[in-house]
Symmetry: D3
Subunit: 136 residues, 6 copies
Amino acid sequence: MVYLTRVEHFNAAHKLQNPAWSEEENAAVFGKCANANWHGHNYELHVTVKGEPNPQTGFVCNAKELSRLIKDVIVEQVDHRNLNLDVPFMKGKFTSAENLVIGIWGELKPHIEQMGVQLHKLKLNETPNIYVEYMG
Amino acid sequence: MVYLTRVEHFNAAHKLQNPAWSEEENAAVFGKCANANWHGHNYELHVTVKGEPNPQTGFVCNAKELSRLIKDVIVEQVDHRNLNLDVPFMKGKFTSAENLVIGIWGELKPHIEQMGVQLHKLKLNETPNIYVEYMG
Amino acid sequence: MVYLTRVEHFNAAHKLQNPAWSEEENAAVFGKCANANWHGHNYELHVTVKGEPNPQTGFVCNAKELSRLIKDVIVEQVDHRNLNLDVPFMKGKFTSAENLVIGIWGELKPHIEQMGVQLHKLKLNETPNIYVEYMG
Amino acid sequence: MVYLTRVEHFNAAHKLQNPAWSEEENAAVFGKCANANWHGHNYELHVTVKGEPNPQTGFVCNAKELSRLIKDVIVEQVDHRNLNLDVPFMKGKFTSAENLVIGIWGELKPHIEQMGVQLHKLKLNETPNIYVEYMG
Amino acid sequence: MVYLTRVEHFNAAHKLQNPAWSEEENAAVFGKCANANWHGHNYELHVTVKGEPNPQTGFVCNAKELSRLIKDVIVEQVDHRNLNLDVPFMKGKFTSAENLVIGIWGELKPHIEQMGVQLHKLKLNETPNIYVEYMG
Amino acid sequence: MVYLTRVEHFNAAHKLQNPAWSEEENAAVFGKCANANWHGHNYELHVTVKGEPNPQTGFVCNAKELSRLIKDVIVEQVDHRNLNLDVPFMKGKFTSAENLVIGIWGELKPHIEQMGVQLHKLKLNETPNIYVEYMG
């Protein structure tokens, strides 16, 4: 079993806010992340698939096709978007890195499996000092 | 003459849009950067000052004080903010990296000079692949 | 289950030396790392916790609080310190990256658990080319 | 159990090509990677070993000896080489990152075990955006 | 005057060899870089242009158009190529980083000027530890 | 004129302390950097030379020889050392990054000139967020 990872990037705006809470409660929990007018990040997404290398190619899967798939299925939806307002798969969810990585997993998994490999892990860097990982 | 650089970070939302243009014109020039609901970046700011090392300390200037100054004067205004809506020194300007670095220069310069050193250069990374530099 | 990692930094001096050995034996095993007058590193510490995102916040745990905890419990003890002389939890231990990561685990674990999440993994970079990982 | 990783680098040429296929088939699957006159990469190799820290040294294994071993056994064979033509352990294999990491594992494992530690994982970065991992 | 830099990447094979010299002379000067079967690198190219921000856009020049231009004029010629064999503008030249950056300057300069900005500097990283800069 | 840079690394201990001042004065100015028992850094040194590429080699200067020279003349003196106690060229000086880069310039310059190139600039990173530059 070999694990292959492809890294893609996107830039997005978001805010962290519980609409059931007062402004004060939101500020107390989310701090500056609750700024009403949004802030944003350069996100870095690592998509790890696993499988046996194909004897015809030496590939677990074609990294260029994997890149194209991630761009078509994920980057197209989130790049230069507002995660709270513009992204169908995040509708009604808090746009924490945790929820975002779970949402991306749900979008990607069926497409990855159609390539004949398993989706093993996602890693999502929100800043150089904060990242989340999810394995389903 | 020695050049000392301190790096600070901030995360902000913005969009690129000429309000005098139609939506189509904006999309043609600014592409996805004109998305009405904003996008955002992890900005990285390099502040370079120059001077002779002080014989009492070996410092051109105290890097910790320089860090505190940049945080007080710049990061406090832009971090977790919307560059188009929330930042007084960007009011009425396009929030391109070019205009942002010029705006930051104007804010920082008098404070840096009060520390007894000269502001030499600013470098502002908008993404890992795009940065601007300004020397006044 | 989602894994959330927060990265913090500290700068410290240390040396690697077995006091039961001669200077020659120490030099043979530890090389330049046994230099009597110390050397030092910019350490980078990755703290990974795991849990289910809280439905009220979308967070496994609040990354800002996690950052504050790591600073209070670890960085305060080791930053700008001598790992052999100044750090209570390393007293009497060789200050290898391996022992340091085990020591940090012991300090952090009870505090992390009080936040209601599990400490999953520590990664400690001693240089860009040497790092250790520990899962308890 | 502590995991210790040492990172080493090498620069090599290769191409991806199935000799049983036509030029068109190769171009369709491997794209520019099939360029007849080769291309190349700055590879980054992470070698992770695991074990208990030795009470005489605090080391899982001596990182300097581990570095020397990786250089002698792997870097010497692949650095500034053509992976398709010059490297005995890749003879007759497609030089995908997947096959390369499996080949490196086979070369390194017996030598690592002679140091008294277990080889846990290899990570091989082909570009900043593509990497493979292998655990045997 | 503001300086804007766009970074692009390419992967290429090359070797360093003076055909007027014996194999021994080449090995003495170029070492492993003279390996007959080539080696390669992940090159990183920084293209810096300068100008006044356009009052209609806030841009010195459109970074997306600059990216497209660099890809069309340079990356298309060198990516996944052999710098000694495949690249017209390097024909008959040693493929040192120094000559490569001069060659890229010659290709890019007229196209950059057609965008209405000046080409200020090129920086070309051959490895993380070796880079060249050229200002014409 | 082409500028060639070679990057080397060293790990060292130091402290910042004015022996003419009280402990309180030192703490007020140097903060944690004055810790009596030292702290340390992974320093990164960029050495930039300039010249015309040699028509026999394509090199401004041989980067491998430049690397060997930096290692022999600088890294040998400072790596795994105490900058205050062990380094002849820093004797009696405050070991700020500013003074260190000036000291390295003095050591390197005559050796670089013997290679037939000019020393153009030194850049010394003390941490990822603080660096100094010196051009003589």
